[in-house]
Amino acid sequence: MISPRGLGGRGGLAVLLALVVVTGATAAPSGPPVRIGGTLALTGPLAPTALLHKIAGEIYVDELNKANGLLGRPVEWVLLDDQSKPDVTRSLYEKLITVDKVDLLMGPYATSGILAAMGVAQRYQKMLPHHSYGMPHLAKYEMHFPTAAFGPEPNVTVPARIYDALAATSNPPKSVAIVTSKFPSAQFQSNGAREVAEKRGLKVALYLEYEFGTRDFGAIAARIKDARPDFLWVGALGLDGNQVIEAMKKLDYMPPRQFHLFPAPGPLALAPDGKLALSHTFFEAHPPMLSNTGAARLVPLFHDRAAKAGVPYVNVDTQAAGSFAAWQVLEAAITATKSLDDKAMAQWLKKNPVDTILGRLRFDGSNNYGDDLSKLKQVQDGKWVVVWPREFAAPGARLLPP
C-alpha cells in the first residue's frame, strides 16, 4: 500500500496530484469527525422496521463522507441499540451526551422511544431531529424537529384524509370497525379515527384495543367478522396487520376494505391476502415523489443495500424516506448556520422550510409541526402505490375498489 508520506518529495506530490486528476477525486472531508449520536431498535419487536431506518441513515452518512462531510469534516454516526425499550433509549441518549460526548443527536425509531429521547435532549438543550413520531400534542420541546409530517393533529387529519379518499369512490363505506394496538401513536390516531367517523355519520360497528405484542388474533378476527363492517381500520404496528388478515382468512372472512396504520411494509405488500390493502404513507418510490429532493439518490442505493442486508421488500417507503429526511433536515441546518450549535440550528429551522425527500417540511407551527403530508397508499400488484390525494398518485394508479 502506498501512503502519501512514502511517496516523498516533489515527485511524490506530482504523482499524488496526477492521481487526484485521473480519479476525479474531490476534496475529502478532513479533521476530527462530527459525531452524531442516536439509537435505533436494532433488537426487540421494533427491530424489523428500525432496520430500514438504519440502512437509510448509513446511506446518508456514507454519501456525506463521499462528498465534503459536514463543514468539511467527516461524519461519524454513533449508533446504539435501544432494544425497542424506551427506558433503555433514555439511558443511551444520556450516555451519548455525557459519556460519548457526541456533537449532535439523531432521533430513535418510533413514538415511545422518541418521547424518551426528547426528555434527555431537553435536559441538555440538544436539538433532536427525528423521523417516526406520531403524537405531536405531547412533543412540547422547542428544539425537536419531526419529519413524520403528520401535522399538529394527526388524530383528526389522518383519518379525515382516509375517509375522504373512500368517500370519493363509487361505493363509500357506511360502517367501520376499528381494532388497534395500544402502542401510543397507533392508539391515539385510531381513537381519532373513531371520533372522525362518528362525526361524519359513519357507523362504528366495533372498536377494540389490544396490547402491543398480542400473539393470537383469532378472537379479534371473530369479532370483526361478527361486526361485518364495510371498512376495517387496523391500528397496526409491524406485523399486526398480517396477523389480523391471516386470522380473518382462517374464518373464511375478509372485509370489503381494510386500512393498516403503521404496517411492516414488505410483509403486508407481499402477503397473498394483502392485495388492495390500504395504508398511510408520506413517500413511495414512484413519480411524482421521485422528483423530491434526494429521492433519485436514495432509491437505487436503498434497493441495493436492503437486498444485501436480506430485507425482503427493498423499495423505499415512508419509513426509510422519513429517516433520510431527518438527516436532510440536520444537514440543511448545519450548512445554513455553518455551525454545530444546537440553538442556532434550531432557530434557523423554526424560520426556514427544508426541501426533503418527503417534500417541503416546515417547523413553524404548533409544537414545531407544519402541514400534514399524509397520503393513502394501496397494495397493487405486490407493490405499494399512492392512490390519494390524486396529485400524488402513481402514474395511472387510482384507489381500486374491492
Binding site: 419487536p45 427491530a47 400473539r215 379479534i220 382462517k250 425482503p312
Partner: protein
C-alpha cells in the same frame, strides 16, 4: 352481548392457541420439574427450530414434516450439548435462570445475524386453510399443532409413569441420593431428558414456522404465558401442561371476545395467582 357463534368460535380459537402453549410448555415443564433447570433457552430453541424449518423450506424446498424429522434429532443432540455445559458449570435451579437467559440472548443474536431482524414468513398453500364444523372454523395447522401437543403430552406422561426410565427420572427429581443408591444413573437420565426437552422445542418450532411470522424478538413473546402454563399445570406434569395451556388459551380468547382484547394478557396471570392462592403446593 356476544352471539353464540362468536363465543363458540372464541372457544375454538382459544383451544387451538392453548395447544401451542401446551406444546411449548412441555419441554420447559420437564426440565424444570425433573432437572431443576429453569430453561429460558427453551424459547430460543423453539424459535431457532422455526427459523431452520423456514430456511429448509424456502431455500431447499424441504417440506415442513421432513424438516421437523431432521430438526428433532439435531435438537436432541443440541440438548445433550447444552446439558454438558450446565453439568460442567454445576448450574443450579436459581443460576439456571441467568445462564439460560444468556444462552437465549446469544441464540437471538445469532438468529438476527443470520436472518436479520426483518420479518420472515414461510408461505404455504395451507397456511390459512380451515375445516368447517357447523358454524365454526377450525384452522388446520393449529389443529395439527394441538393434536401433536396432545399426543406428545400423552406419550410423555405414559413414559414417565410406566417405564423404568420414567420412574428413575421421577425418583431422581424427588430424592436424588436415594435414587442413585438404588442404582439409577442420574447423569445419563439428565442428559436424556435434556435432549428430549430440546427435541420438543424443535417440534414446537416447526409449527411456529408455519403458523407465525418470524422475527428474532419473538423468543420472548411466549415467555410469560408459557411460564404461567407450566406452573398452573404442575412441574413435570405433561398432561397438566397441556390442560393448563388449553385453560389459558380459552380464558384469553373468551376475554377477547366478550370483554376486550386488551384484558387478555391479564387473564393468564390472574388464573395463575388464583391457582397459587388455592393450591400453593403448585410451586
Amino acid at each position: 352481548m356476544p352471539s353464540l357463534t362468536l363465543l363458540g368460535q372464541a372457544v375454538v380459537s382459544g383451544l387451538l392457541a392453548g395447544g401451542i402453549y401446551g406444546l411449548l410448555a412441555l419441554g420447559l415443564s420437564l426440565s424444570w420439574g425433573l432437572l431443576r433447570l429453569v430453561n429460558l433457552a427453551h424459547f430460543a430453541l423453539a424459535l431457532l427450530g422455526a427459523y431452520l424449518t423456514y430456511q429448509l423450506g424456502t431455500a431447499w424446498l424441504v417440506p415442513p414434516w421432513l424438516a421437523t424429522l431432521l430438526i428433532v434429532p439435531a435438537f436432541f443432540a443440541l440438548g445433550l450439548g447444552l446439558h454438558a455445559v450446565f453439568a460442567y458449570f454445576r448450574v443450579t435451579e436459581f443460576t439456571s435462570l441467568l445462564v439460560t437467559f444468556g444462552v437465549a440472548v446469544i441464540l437471538e443474536s445469532a438468529i438476527q445475524w443470520f436472518w436479520t431482524a426483518d420479518y420472515r414468513r414461510y408461505e404455504t398453500a395451507y397456511a390459512t386453510a380451515s375445516l368447517r364444523v357447523g358454524p365454526f372454523f377450525v384452522p388446520t395447522l393449529e389443529l395439527l399443532a394441538g393434536l401433536t401437543a396432545a399426543a406428545l403430552a400423552l406419550v410423555t406422561w405414559a413414559w414417565l409413569r410406566f417405564t423404568y426410565i420414567g420412574k428413575a427420572l421421577r425418583a431422581c427429581a424427588e430424592d436424588p441420593a436415594m435414587a442413585v443408591a438404588f442404582g439409577v444413573n442420574r447423569r445419563a437420565q439428565a442428559f436424556l431428558l435434556s435432549g428430549v426437552s430440546a427435541a420438543y422445542a424443535g417440534v414446537a418450532g416447526g409449527f411456529i414456522a408455519l403458523i407465525a411470522t418470524l422475527a428474532p424478538a419473538q423468543i420472548w413473546a411466549w415467555v410469560g404465558v408459557v411460564f404461567a402454563v407450566v406452573i398452573i399445570g404442575g412441574l413435570a406434569n405433561p398432561l397438566g401442561a397441556l390442560l393448563a395451556g388449553l385453560l389459558i388459551g380459552v380464558s384469553e380468547s373468551v376475554t377477547m371476545a366478550v370483554v376486550t382484547p386488551a384484558w387478555a394478557p391479564l387473564v393468564s396471570f390472574s388464573v395463575l395467582i388464583l391457582i397459587l392462592v388455592l393450591r400453593p403446593d403448585r410451586m
